[in-house]
Amino acid sequence: MESMNRLGRILMVEDDPKDVELTLTALEEYNLANEVVVARDGEKALDYLYCRGEYKTRSSDNPAVILLDLKLPKVDGLEVLKEIKSNGKLRIIPVVVLTSSKEEKDMVASYKLGVNAYVVKPVDFHDFVNAIKELGAFWAIINEPPPGSVRK
């Protein structure tokens, strides 16, 4: 398939393994799952983005999109978002907040920090799959990522 070669890499920051599995299942439908890097907390996500710690040896390309949960161990989602959006090199990466809650204060804080999209995970599985699929399709396939992102 031609589109396979144009897939962007997705960095998913999510601590809940069940959510990871459900998300990956949803992304599989567009064959996007193989390109997902999972960071299980905010610190790991920043390690990945800064190519440090266990990601010291990875190629320095940026992901095409970051799917960011807000409730995370160690460094929470809003802090990760703040770090990304205040870094000259990282701020160009699109960040989608993908969270369970529709708390207005989280939403306001995220948009103030410069988030690119804010998605509440639907409880209903079909809605969830649709939301993830559309997200993946849009950010990893349709959207033209900023220069320096992985594009195979």
Binding site: K18, L22, S100, K121, V123, F125, F128
Partner: protein, 503 residues
Amino acid sequence: MTQPKLHLQFAHSSVLRYGLAVVSVAMALAIALPVQHYKFREVGLPLFLFAVAVTAWYAGVGPAALSIVLSSLCFDYFFAPPLYSLSFTLADVPALLILLTFAALITRFSTVRHRVEGELRQARDDLQIEVAERTQQASLLNLTHDSIFVRDMDFVITFWNLGAQELYGWAAEDAIGKHSNQLLQTVFPAPLEEVQAELLRTGRWAGELKRTTAQGATVVVAARYALRRDEQARPVAILETSNDITERKRREEEIQGLNQELAERSTQLESINKELEAFAYSVSHDLRAPLRHIAGFTELLHKKVSSVVDEKSNRYIAMILDSAKRMGNLIDDLLAFSRIGRAETQKTAVSLAQLVREALADVRQDTEGRNIAWKIGALPEFYGDRSMLRLVLVNLISNAIKFTRTRPQAEIEIGCADGNKDNLVVFVRDNGVGFDMKYVNKLFGVFQRLHESDAFEGTGIGLATVQRIIHRHGGKVWAEGVVDSGATFYFSAPKPQGHLWRA
């Protein structure tokens, strides 16, 4: 007292004054002439001098001059040689000079005496007026409601008005002469030395004092001190005006207590509210995640096994999914309900007709395949929070749609009922399954449902939300229903006063 009267008469009647001159000279002549016959020739001049002196003393300069002229003439005529003639000789000059000098001296003395007398009189009159004024002032002090008393620098009371008697219970005769602070058991708001120092420095002091009355009651008074000094600027007395503020003070303390209580309550409420918010947040976040997982993995399971397991297992799976979905809706509704309690209302003039149109658009999905006769009356403007009021209408209309489901021809009416001049009443009426008025009190409670959940789906939060919103608008909600003959739901809200209301 007779002398001034005499003087006044002389002073005011020139006839009398000049008459005195004539009479005194005539009397001097009348005495001198017979005496002359007894060879006392030298008595003439002294007698005329006396007449001039009397005139000058009592009648002033003019009559004195007249008496000098008359005395000179008489003396010249009757006593100076040649006798019985008015011929002036050089020998008469000394006598005339003596007369003139004497008269001048007496007149001068008289003038001084009159002036001094006048001054004395003036001083006495002034004094009398002042005494009268003071007496009047002292009685005026008794008229005031304020308590006024004066004490000297040793705290001994010297004046005590009726107000003081009324306030403190002691009569003037009991209070005067007593040590003021001991009598009244005064408690000062500051050390007495400071009060005294300020009084001596500025001449004034004001403050609240606690005192004990003759009856033993404690009173709080607002007191003002004024220091009186004598001509040498030495402090001599302190005038104290005070009025009873016991009642005011008590109320102030009461209000202060209430305020403090209120502040504590509101702090408590604030912390409860914060807890509630944290609770809502964790419900919203932490409960939804496992629910999503249940729904997600059950769905995945269903996909994998639906073709290999029996019907019963598939039904179980469907029920798990249904329950998960229902719980999701419950959580969402509950969160929306709690958000209404926490959110600020943003009130504006809202067109209810427009809101009803929007609400109907929202529920269009539920009306598909249904036969509903809508009857929408004239609706006024409503003053309130637009999105909240819209939620009210959506809830009531979707209820009406839901509970008329069993009717081949549903009828739903939305209109404005007769309120009164202060309130506006809106209703939503349907011809649905209705309800038993016995349970009307349960209608608006959270999670209260009057129908089995498989007959009419729902979370039982809709009407509770409606009630909460209307209560937040200062209005009321109520309902009327008959089993199997429909229901009417009403809500009211106060009409806003003034320019905000344009209906």
